[in-house]
């Protein structure tokens, strides 16, 4: 996983709510068996509309997506995270996220930042007024900063540590292999196996 400490970049406002993972990456793209090439499928249907915000050249190169509430609802497809990252996003800011999407993001090093709805709106308005506005997302300080504004966000210490170190969860769990083996010895005897 790519480590995340602090990121400064420009942002793009996505003024839509309930941006489900079917919109982020339509199902037809899920047939791939590799982990790469998903940027082409990001918001594939919406990008066909020339007025869609990602087609606006003034937001070219943006690395922070600022969305309406309930971003990443629906399907568990991690391809949505891969698509956003491969397109160039490092951070998504919204008032609420789908639980599975949020979880998937933190496994991959895409930072989901929850801000109060009115702060999200303020940031969207600021970016619309100045698409080249520099926005800093500081995971160490748990802050989003732009144009003199400083807004705090919450993230648990453990996830923050894992993200800043870029640690692989599997490696961390395998350190506790003895605990897993001990647990397995005590499992209820009637539990099913698939064999």
């Amino acid at each position: 996983m790519e480590a995340f400490t602090t990121h400064t970049g420009t942002a793009v406002p996505l003024r839509r709510s309930n941006v489900d993972t079917d919109q982020i990456i339509p199902a037809v793209w899920l047939k791939q068996v590799s982990r790469t090439g998903f940027e082409k499928g990001l918001f594939a249907a919406w990008r066909e509309d020339p007025t869609f915000v990602l087609n606006d050249p003034s937001y070219e190169g943006a690395s922070i997506l600022v969305s309406g509430p309930d971003f990443g609802t629906g399907s568990s497809r991690e391809h949505a995270v891969w698509a956003l990252q491969q397109y160039g996003f490092r951070v998504v800011i919204a008032a609420r996220f789908g639980d599975i999407f949020r979880n998937n993001s933190t496994k991959m090093g895409l930072l989901p930042v929850v801000l109060p709805a009115e702060r999200v709106e303020a940031l969207q308005a600021a970016v619309e007024a100045d698409p080249k506005l520099e926005v800093t997302v500081d995971l160490g300080e748990r802050q989003v900063r732009w144009a003199g504004e400083v807004v705090a966000f919450e993230i648990d210490d453990y996830t923050r540590w894992r993200l800043t170190e870029g640690l692989d969860d599997i490696g961390l769990t395998l350190r506790h292999a003895d605990d897993v083996a001990a647990y397995e010895n005590g499992r209820q005897p009637w539990l099913p196996t698939t064999v």
Binding site: L30, I100, V180
Partner: protein, 468 residues
């Protein structure tokens, strides 16, 4: 055996969670043991690649089962799409390499992953079950904690049989009263989602409780728990009871003899204590419900079938208003149009939400002796469901009515196989998501119960069975 001391005042979710904690440390998520890992072809290939890259094995292939469902065609014959074919073949290679039981296309046990687990008796009360699929919440109907995960977590479970996770908060949805005749589990869950919204369950495990829930069959309970994720909740669950035990008894992987008795004794303890406190409680009166249908592009945008397409101006919240405006534009609907006047091009009965035998029976009951006037796909959720339906002669009813009787798979629920809507086409669908383009690019979806789907197939517009 790690049987925790009986502590007063715990919810069902807390009991099941505690039973599965492998390791707990201050400031860290719990390490949770996973009793059953379900695999399908779409979300697993990159996870198996990750294992190979790191030289890791699958820790418990004996707690893992795979099936082919999302890509499979529902007409007999090989997969014509080369990309789909590669994905399915990749699963076959991975299952063989890592020693995982697989039910491939054509196998008598093949079917939608959330249909076959319960049918085999692999889904049991008190278990933790995961799958790289958000509708894993279905399995919570048996009183376990079951939730969808992404591909990184699939890899984690394959390698370790555990997941690090923080315990979600708990929500009770208390459904009092009785569902009126003709109102189904699907209508209940659509009404719940309309009530609490697509974000209402975020951060919670939902326990569905109350008289109306107790009276649901296991299949109805699965329909309700299946769509928990559409209310934002990763997991939904229902305490096991006699209905649960009766469903399980005698299934291939259910315990037998003394083990059955032991299991039932434990399962009986899996209920929320009377003095337990939920973080949130929602009340729904089942007796006031009528058939529900969605009009928009998220599952929370639903109304009773007797209502009309809402006016976006009627929403006080500006976010809901703009979402409604956008939804009406996408759906090609005008505010004020009675929902019953909406004409559809296609009816789809199937999916992990409503592709079980009871769903097919209730659709057949309505189609018996009638003719469909629109393209109607009846897709059993598994080959076992298909066989049972054919033994009962339901396929003859569907065919006589002019509906298409298909092979098992996810089919038009998400259109990864050839079953899709064309741009602008409109469906009445028993599936779970009405997202833009979900059933095919530009397609428009109205979520309904199997009964409403069947009645709609007869008239060509959204219809309740009582209207026929």
């Amino acid at each position: 055996m790690i049987l925790k001391e009986e502590i007063m005042g715990r919810t069902l979710a807390e009991k099941v969670w505690e039973q599965h904690v492998v390791r707990r440390a201050e400031g860290e998520p719990d390490l949770l043991y996973i009793d059953l890992h379900l695999i399908h072809e779409v979300t697993s290939p990159q996870a198996f690649d990750g294992l190979r890259l790191a030289g890791r094995k699958v820790r418990r292939p004996d707690l893992t089962i795979a099936t082919e469902d999302h890509n499979v065609p529902t007409l007999l014959g090989p997969i014509s799409d080369p990309v789909s074919k590669t994905q399915v073949e990749t699963l076959r290679k991975n299952a063989a390499e890592f020693g995982i039981r697989l039910h491939p296309m054509g196998d008598a046990g093949q079917g939608v992953v959330h249909i076959i687990g319960p049918q085999f008796g692999l889904t049991q009360p008190g278990m933790t079950i995961v799958c790289g699929d958000s509708h894993t919440s279905t399995h919570g109907a048996f009183g376990g904690i079951a939730f969808g995960i992404g591909t990184s977590e699939v890899e984690h479970v394959l390698a370790t049989q555990t997941l690090p996770a923080y315990r979600p908060k708990t929500m009770a949805i208390e459904v009092s009263g009785e569902l009126p005749a003709g109102v189904t589990a699907k209508d209940l869950i659509l009404a719940i989602i309309a009530e609490i919204g697509t974000g209402g369950g975020q951060g919670y495990i939902v326990e569905y409780r109350g008289e109306a829930v107790r009276k649901l069959s296991m299949e109805g309970r699965m329909t309700v728990c299946n769509m928990s994720i559409e209310a934002g909740a990763r997991a939904g669950m229902i305490a096991p009871d006699e209905t649960t035990f009766a469903y399980l008894k005698g299934r291939p992987h259910a315990p037998e003899g003394e083990a059955w008795d032991q299991a039932v004794e434990y399962w009986t303890s899996l209920r929320t204590d009377d003095d337990a406190v939920f973080d949130k409680v929602v009340h729904i009166d089942a007796s006031t419900l009528t058939p529900y249908v969605t009009w928009g592009t998220n599952p929370g945008q639903g109304l009773p079938l007797g209502e009309s397409v809402p006016d976006p101006e009627s929403f006080a919240d500006p976010v809901a208003r703009s979402a409604a405006e956008r939804a009406l534009e996408y759906m090609g609907l005008r505010a004020g149009t009675p929902l019953r006047e909406i004409e559809v091009d296609t009816v789809f009965v199937g999916s992990c939400t409503n592709g079980r035998i009871e769903d097919l029976r209730s659709a057949a009951e309505i189609l018996r002796g009638r003719q469909v006037t629109t393209r109607t796909l009846i897709v059993p959720g598994s080959m076992m469901v298909k066989r049972q339906a054919e033994e009962e002669g339901l396929h003859e009813v569907f065919k006589a009515a002019g509906a298409e009787w298909r092979e098992a798979g996810c089919s038009m629920c998400l259109g990864m196989n050839p079953d899709t809507l064309k741009p602008g086409e409109r469906s009445a669908s028993t599936s779970n998501r009405n997202f833009e383009g979900r059933q095919g690019k530009g397609g428009r979806t109205h979520l309904v119960s199997p009964q409403v789907a069947a009645a709609t197939a007869v008239t060509g517009r959204l219809t309740a069975p009582a209207d026929l």
